[in-house]
Every structure is written in C-alpha cells, then in structure tokens.
C-alpha cells in the first residue's frame, strides 16, 4: 500500500512542479518578448572596426530623380526611417499587390515626419519622370512622404542587389512578368541607414508585422 501512495504523492509533486514551471516559463516569455522591449535585428554583414565596435551593413550615399524631376539623395531621409521597394509601373504581376499593401503603411503613418517611403522603378527607360508623376497622382499620393524615383538602370540594380539585398533585374524572357524579375520585398531602414527588417510586400500578414516594427522603431 505504501508503494502506490508514495508514487501518487510523487506524481502530485511532479504535476505541481510542472505547473509552476509552465507559469514561470510563460511569465519569462511575456516579460522578455513584451512588444515594447522587443528589439529589431540588424540585417546584413557586420564588421568590427579598429575601436572594436560593431559596424552594421549600411546603405551608401545615393542619388536619384523623383517624380517632380528633383534630385533625391540620402539627405532627404536624414533623421527619418524609411521603407523602400522596387517596382515598375507597367508590371502586371506583383506590383499592384505591393502597392495596395504599401498604401496601407502610407495611410497608417500619413503625415508622420519620422517616416518616408522610397519606391524605385527598375524600368527607367519606360518610367520617366512624367510617367512616375502620373502614377503617383493616380495612386492618390499627394505628399512628399512617398517618393517615386528613377535613374540610371545600373545604379538602381546595384543599390537593390548590393545594398538593400533584394533581387531586381531585366529578363526579356519573363514576358508574363512584364520583362523584369524583381523581389516583392519591403526593406525597413533606420535613421543610421542600417537595415532592420525585410518583409514580403505581397502578404498582408508580413505587412502587419512591418507596421508593428515601424511603430517600435519610431519610438526609439
């Protein structure tokens, strides 16, 4: 009789212990992953400089022309965080979906001076300044906050691939895709020009996460 009773007691203790551990673990999860304390990762290669500090992958200086024919450089984004993407106006596939999602971000943070949006065309031969201006207008964007830029094709592809680390290239065989291959990524860049997140701009859930991450980054 002693044997079963003792094992029953052990089981009870075990249950209690397990119960406490689960509560403890949940508390740990809640406290450590609380949204306000959440930290965004740094994306890309990192190096250690002569002083021993970590140097994160950052976006170099750039120079493009916007929908009004004005020059846009990194200066426009000084003290701002920004989201960037690559598209072209005649794109029949993922671009309309990306623009629908980017519009959600735009509406959410409209008139917030801490956030800007930078959309690069990957088809500068067709997407001239006037084409971009008309596209922006028909999309209903009437603020400086969202910039559409064009420039030398080489420079655009280079900054896409090397700096923002997303794919963008011309592919004459991709007829159904409008002759270009590009990623549908939205890249989130912080005030120090470091990449803090990459999101699939064609998926509503990922863009929900981007919106949360922007809120977090704006608080810092």
């Amino acid at each position: 009789m002693l044997q079963p009773r003792s094992s029953l007691k052990n089981t009870n203790n075990m249950r209690k212990l397990l119960g406490f551990s689960i509560i403890g673990f949940m508390a740990l999860v809640i406290f450590s992953c609380g949204d306000s304390d959440r930290k965004l990762p740094y994306i890309g290669e990192r190096e250690v400089d002569a002083k021993g500090d970590t140097v994160y992958h950052s976006i170099p200086d750039f120079k493009f022309i916007n929908q009004d024919g004005d020059t846009i450089t990194q200066e426009f984004f000084k003290n701002k965080i920004y989201i960037t993407d690559f598209f072209f106006t005649s794109c029949p596939t993922i671009c309309p979906v990306m623009k629908t999602q980017m519009l959600r971000v735009y509406e959410k943070f409209k008139d917030n001076p801490g956030l800007a949006i930078l959309s690069h065309t990957i088809d500068p031969r067709h997407d001239s300044v006037s084409v971009l201006k008309s596209y922006k207008k028909r999309l209903g964007i009437d603020s400086e906050q969202w910039q559409f830029v064009t420039g030398e094709q080489e420079k655009i592809y280079e900054i896409a691939q090397k700096s923002y680390m997303v794919s963008a290239m011309e592919d004459k065989e991709a007829i159904d895709d409008g002759g270009f291959v590009h990623s549908g990524a939205f890249v989130l860049v912080d005030k120090n020009r470091n990449i803090r997140g990459v999101y699939d701009g064609t998926k509503e859930k990922e863009v929900n996460k981007l919106i949360k991450d922007i809120e977090l980054l704006l608080k810092k």
Binding site: P96, R138, L139, G178
Partner: protein, 126 residues
C-alpha cells in the same frame, strides 16, 4: 464537398455547368486578374479600374477582346478616367475566358447567365 454532391444531384445539367463555370472562372480570375483589379473587383484607386457593376461587363465582345489583346489609352469607367495599359493574356483559351466572364457577371454583373466557349470563340477582335 457535401454541398457539391447536393448541387450535382439536385440541379439540372445546365445549372451544374453554370456552377462549374463560376467556380473555375473564379480561380482563373484570382490568378490572372485580381492582382490589378483586386479580389473584390474594386480596382485600385485611379490606377486600375473596378470590374464591379459596370456596363462594360454586359459587352461580351469588348470584354473578350480586352482580355485577349489587352487595352491601352484613356478610358472612362463609372465616370472616372483611367489610363493604365492592360496587358494581353495570350495564354488563355476561349474556355478560360468564357469562365472568367461568367464568373465576373455572376459576382458583379446584372445578368447571371452562362457565357459559353462558342460565344467567346466567334468574337472577332480588331
């Protein structure tokens, strides 16, 4: 599935064919049309026109030719001007187009009538 069996067993052959066109047409619409015209057919602001409740849908020849050969130049829909090139969909068969048009009319048009392959096939585009 159960509903499908019910429909198949209770409905007339014409009704079954219509339901099949609507379902297949809906899938084709999602693949080939919804990126621009959106899932619910409302389009995107002043960039891509809506498909909902427009006179355009009544005109089988115009819809067929627009899908087959695309569209370009300014056009007015529901009192708004649009000017975005629509690409040609050369890979779609007449059956696909018939199903898409049947689906769009079922969902957004005024008539719930099957548009069959022959009707699409006899359309002559410019």
């Amino acid at each position: 599935m159960f509903l499908g069996v019910c429909l198949a067993s209770c409905a007339s052959p014409e009704q079954v064919k219509y339901e099949q066109y609507v379902i297949s047409g809906g899938e084709l619409y999602q693949t080939h049309c919804s990126n621009c015209h959106s899932k619910e057919g409302e389009g995107l602001r002043n960039l891509y026109p809506p498909i909902r409740q427009i006179d355009f849908l009544k005109n089988v020849s115009l819809v067929t030719c627009s899908i087959k050969n695309g569209l370009s130049g300014p056009m007015e829909i529901n009192g708004k001007m649009y000017n975005q090139k629509m690409p040609a969909n050369k890979n779609l068969y007449n059956l696909d187009i018939a199903q898409i048009i049947t689906f769009m009319n079922d969902k957004w048009g005024q008539t719930k009538k099957l548009v069959d392959t022959e009707e699409v096939a006899k359309v002559v585009c410019e």
